[in-house]
Symmetry: C2
C-alpha cells in the first residue's frame, strides 16, 4: 500500500521533464514512522539539508516539511503506527541539458508506505549476507549523501536475487568494505567498535549516526574501520544499521559465520532504550 502526495494532493504522476527523472538530480529520505511521528527526524533533516547544499537546491523550512509530512500521514490509508515515509526532493523542472534553469522551484514529493518489521528471530539470531561483486564508485562529490543516483546499490542488490539473503555488503574499488546496499555496517574486534568512513562513497545512514551518538553517550568510542574481504573472518562480530530496522546482527557473510556477540547485544539494548525499541532482545 502506497500513497504519494504532491503539494498536499494525493497524486502519483509527475512530469517526465523533472530533473529527478532525467538525471537523478535530487535526494531522498526514507523515514521510519512510529505512532504517527517521524523517528530520527532531525538527522534526516540534517542529511537532506547537507544534500541540498551540495546540489544547490533550496530546501523548504523544517517546519513546513514537517507539516507536509504530518498532513500526508493524516490523509494516507497506508499510514499506521508502524509505517514509513519517503521524501523526495529534486531540483525541479528543467529544460533539456545538464545545466539548470536558475528559477526552477524544487519538486517535493511525499510517499507513505505500509511496512512490516523483520521477524524477532532476525534480531535474536542475526541475518545472512554476502559480499557483492559490484563495487561502489569512489571519489564522488556526493559521497555520503542519499541522492537519487543509486545504480551502484541497484546493481549490488540485484546480486541477491533468489538467494534468500537479507543484505549484501559492498566494497570500494580498493576492496575495503564500505556499507550494505541499504544499511551501514559496524565491526567489533576485541570489544572495540568500528565502522567504515564514508568520505569517498556510500551513504551516511541516520541510524549509523544514532548508533555512534548513543555509544559516545556511554563513552564507547567508534573508530574508522578499514576491513577488506580477507580480514572479515577475523572480525569478532558484525552488525548492520538502517533507519527502519535499527540494528541487526550479521550471523553469516558468504562462508563466514558468527554467533551473535555480547557487544552487539549490549549495543542493541542501548539503542533500543534510545527510541528504537525493535532492537530490544
Amino acid at each position: 500500500m502506497t500513497d504519494w502526495f504532491i503539494n498536499g494532493e494525493r497524486n502519483g504522476m509527475i512530469s517526465i521533464d523533472d530533473r529527478a527523472v532525467q538525471y537523478g538530480d535530487g535526494l531522498f529520505e526514507t523515514i521510519a514512522i512510529r505512532h504517527g511521528k517521524p523517528r530520527l527526524w532531525q538527522y534526516h533533516l540534517d542529511r537532506l539539508a547537507r544534500g541540498c547544499e551540495c546540489l544547490d537546491i533550496a530546501l523548504p523550512g523544517a517546519e513546513q516539511l514537517h507539516q507536509s509530512l504530518q498532513d500526508a500521514l493524516a490523509q494516507s490509508s497506508a499510514a499506521s503506527d508502524y509505517c514509513l515515509a519517503k521524501i523526495i526532493v529534486s531540483s525541479g523542472f528543467g529544460k533539456r541539458g545538464y545545466g539548470r534553469t536558475r528559477s526552477a522551484e524544487p519538486s517535493i514529493w511525499l510517499g507513505v508506505f505500509a511496512s512490516t518489521p523483520p521477524p524477532a528471530s532476525s534480531y535474536r539470531d542475526g541475518v545472512d549476507t554476502k559480499v557483492c561483486d559490484t563495487r561502489l564508485a569512489t571519489g564522488s562529490a556526493t559521497a555520503g549523501l542519499k541522492t537519487l543516483n543509486r545504480l551502484d546499490q541497484v546493481l549490488a542488490r540485484s546480486e541477491l536475487t533468489g538467494q534468500n539473503l537479507f543484505e549484501g555488503l559492498t566494497m570500494d574499488a580498493s576492496g575495503s568494505i564500505i556499507c550494505g546496499t541499504m544499511s551501514n555496517v559496524f565491526f567489533v574486534s576485541k570489544n572495540h567498535v568500528s565502522t567504515p568512513t564514508l568520505s569517498n562513497c556510500g551513504v551516511e545512514g541516520v541510524m549509523r549516526r544514532h548508533v555512534i551518538a548513543t555509544l559516545e553517550n556511554h563513552d564507547i568510542d567508534v573508530s574508522d574501520a578499514v576491513v577488506e574481504l580477507d580480514d572479515l573472518a577475523a572480525v569478532d562480530e558484525i552488525f548492520i544499521t538502517n533507519s527502519q530496522f535499527g540494528v541487526l546482527p550479521v550471523r553469516r557473510c558468504g562462508e563466514t559465520v558468527w554467533p551473535v556477540g555480547e557487544t552487539t547485544r549490549n549495543i542493541m539494548t542501548l539503542v533500543a532504550a534510545k527510541g528504537v525499541p525493535e532492537c530490544q532482545l
Copy 2:
C-alpha cells in the same frame, strides 16, 4: 518546444513509482535527427543495448524502437529537418527498495526537441572551456554508459553558470582529464591524435566512436590519452565531440589558448564527409 511520447501517445506524465525517478535505474540516448533520420542510429542502439545488458533491462527490438521513433517524429510539432530525439529506457515500475520486481516491463519514453546548431564561428574559431573542480567518481560498474545517474555531470555543469563557456572538462580522482560534461575530448600532439579511455568513468559518446572509426578508415591511429591538468598547455590542439554538434575545436581552456590547428581542421573535414556536414569549414 518539446513533445514526449509514451507507448505512441503524446504524454508528458509518468508514475513517480517508476525506478527512473526513484533510483535513476535506466539509460538514455540523445540522438541528432537530420532530415527525419536518426544520425549514428546503430551506434546509439549499440550503446543502449550494452547499457541494458549491464542493467539487466529487456530492450525492445531495434526495428520496434526505430518505428516508435519515426512515429514520434511524425506526430511531433517539435520535429524539423534539424532537431533531436531523446530515448529514455528505465527498468520500469517498482515496489520500494533497490531490488527489482522481476516481472516489471521496462518503460520507454521518446522525446522530440527543437534544436539549433552552434554558430559557424564556433566551428571556425573554436569554443571556450575550463577544467571543472567537480571530479568524476571512478570505478563505477556503469562506466562508459549513458545511465540516468548523471549528478557528476550536473554538478560539473553548474560550475559554468554565468561564465559564458561552452563546455567544462572533467577529471577523474587521479587528476586525468576524462571528458567534457556533455562531450568527449581529443588531444593532438605532434600530429598524433589521442583520447582518454573511459573504462573507469565518463560516457562513451557515439560521436567519439564515429570520429575514431572515421580516422581509422583513413589509417589515422587514435591512442589512449593520459593528460593531466599540468600537461594541458603542452598539447598542440584540442577538440571535443558530441552527437549533436559533431566536432568543435577548443580555443581556450582556463588560461590556456590554442589556435585552431591543421589536424583538427582536417579531421573536421573527414567527419563532415562521413555524415556530419555541420563540421565542414
